[in-house]
C-alpha cells in the first residue's frame, strides 16, 4: 500500500462543489469512480484510511484481550479494513454527502473491527445456560441491601420474563441484558443479525414494561424505575 496522509476535516468555510458535497468528499468520490491508476491510488488511500480507523478501534479494546498477540491484532485490523473497503465500494452510490466522506467511511471500519473483536473475545466460549442467566438477577434481587421497591420490581420482572416472553425473546434478552453477551456474538451464534436481535430485545422490553405497568409500577425513562 502506498503511504498517504489521512485527510482531515476542513475548516468551517470549506467550499462546496456543485453537487453540494464539500470539495474533499467530492474528490474522494471522483477518484474512486475514475479508471486506471487514479482509481487504484484512491482505493489504496482509502484502505490506509480504513486501516488507521481499524487500528484505532483495536487499540481501544486490546487491553481487554490479553490472550491475543500483537500480530493477531494487526491481522484483525487488516481484515476489518479490507471488509470495510469492500462494503464502501459496494455502497458508494449510497453516500449522500450528509457528512464528510471520511466520517462516513470511518464508521464502516470501526464497525467491522468492533464486531470482529467482540467475536474473537468470545471465541470458544459457551453462551450462558438457563440457570446462569437467572442467577445474576436473583442475586441482586435477594441482596439484603435491596430496597423493598426494587426487590418487588425485580421479582415482578422475573415473573414477567418467564410468563410473557417467548423462549427466543427470553434467551436473547437474558444473554444480552443480564449476562453481558455482546449482541454481535449472539447474532453469530444464532445465525442472525444485530438489527434482528435488537428488534427482539426491543419487543421483549416493550412487553415487560407493559406488564410492570399493569402490575402497578410506574416506569419513567430508562433507569428511573419508580414505585408501585
Amino acid at each position: 500500500m502506498v503511504g498517504v496522509t489521512i485527510p482531515q476535516m476542513d475548516a468551517p468555510s470549506a467550499p462546496q462543489s456543485r453537487s453540494g458535497l464539500d470539495e474533499e468528499s467530492q474528490a474522494w468520490l471522483d477518484a474512486l469512480r475514475s479508471d486506471g491508476n487514479e482509481r487504484e491510488e484512491a482505493t489504496a488511500r482509502l484502505y490506509e484510511l480504513l486501516l488507521r480507523a481499524s487500528r484505532f478501534e483495536v487499540s481501544r479494546r486490546k487491553g481487554a484481550m490479553p490472550h491475543l498477540r500483537g500480530d493477531d491484532f494487526d491481522d484483525l485490523a487488516h481484515q476489518a479494513a479490507s471488509d470495510a473497503l469492500m462494503a464502501i465500494l459496494d455502497k458508494l452510490d449510497d453516500f449522500r454527502g450528509d457528512s464528510r466522506f471520511t466520517t462516513w467511511a470511518y464508521k464502516f471500519a470501526l464497525l467491522e473491527a468492533a464486531v470482529k473483536l467482540r467475536r474473537r473475545a468470545w471465541q470458544g466460549r459457551e453462551l450462558p445456560v438457563e440457570p446462569e442467566r437467572w442467577s445474576r438477577m436473583a442475586d441482586l434481587g435477594s441482596s439484603p441491601s435491596a430496597g423493598t421497591e426494587q426487590r418487588e420490581l425485580l421479582e415482578q420482572l422475573q415473573e414477567s420474563i418467564q410468563a410473557e416472553l417467548s423462549p427466543h425473546q427470553r434467551e436473547v434478552l437474558l444473554a444480552v441484558a443480564v449476562n453481558g453477551v455482546p449482541i454481535d456474538v449472539m447474532a453469530e451464534r444464532l445465525n442472525s443479525t444485530r438489527g434482528a436481535l435488537y428488534k427482539t430485545v426491543h419487543d421483549a422490553r416493550k412487553k415487560l414494561r407493559a406488564g410492570l405497568e399493569r402490575a402497578g409500577f410506574e416506569l419513567e425513562g430508562r433507569e428511573e424505575v419508580g414505585t408501585k
Binding site: I6, Q8, M9, D10, A11, P12, A14, G20, A53, F56, E57, R60, G97, D98, S99, R100, T102, T103, W104, Y106, K107, L110, L111, A114, R118, R136, M137, L140, G141, S143, S145, A146, Q150, L153, L154, L157, L173, V176, A177, V178, P182, I183, D184, R194, G195, Y198, K199, V201, H202, R205, L208, R209, L212, L219, E220, G221, R222, E223, V225
Partner: protein, 83 residues
C-alpha cells in the same frame, strides 16, 4: 460497584429506553451525521430524533458511536455542522 448501582444498571438494560428509538440499521445509517453534529456543537438529537434513545438501549451501537466520535474528534480541526 455498589449493589444499588448494579441493580439500577440491570433494570436499565432489561427495560431499555422506553420511548421511540431508531433501529440498529437506522442508527448506522445516521451515525456519521449525528457525530458530526455533536462534534460541531449542534443539537444532534433534535436533528436526528430517536438516536439518543437507541444509543441508551443498544450497547453495541453505543460503543460504535463512542469510537466514531473519538476518532473524528482526534482527526478534526474545526468541524462544521453537516447539512
Amino acid at each position: 460497584m455498589s449493589k444499588d448501582k448494579q441493580r439500577s444498571e440491570l433494570l436499565g438494560r432489561l427495560l431499555g429506553p422506553g420511548g421511540p428509538e431508531l433501529t440498529c440499521e437506522q442508527c448506522f445509517e445516521e451515525l456519521d451525521r449525528y457525530v458530526e453534529f455533536e462534534v460541531a456543537g449542534a443539537d444532534a438529537e433534535r436533528q436526528i430524533p430517536g438516536m439518543r434513545a437507541h444509543l441508551h438501549g443498544c450497547s453495541a451501537c453505543a460503543e460504535d458511536y463512542e469510537s466514531l466520535k473519538d476518532l473524528v474528534t482526534s482527526t478534526a480541526r474545526r468541524p462544521k455542522p453537516p447539512r
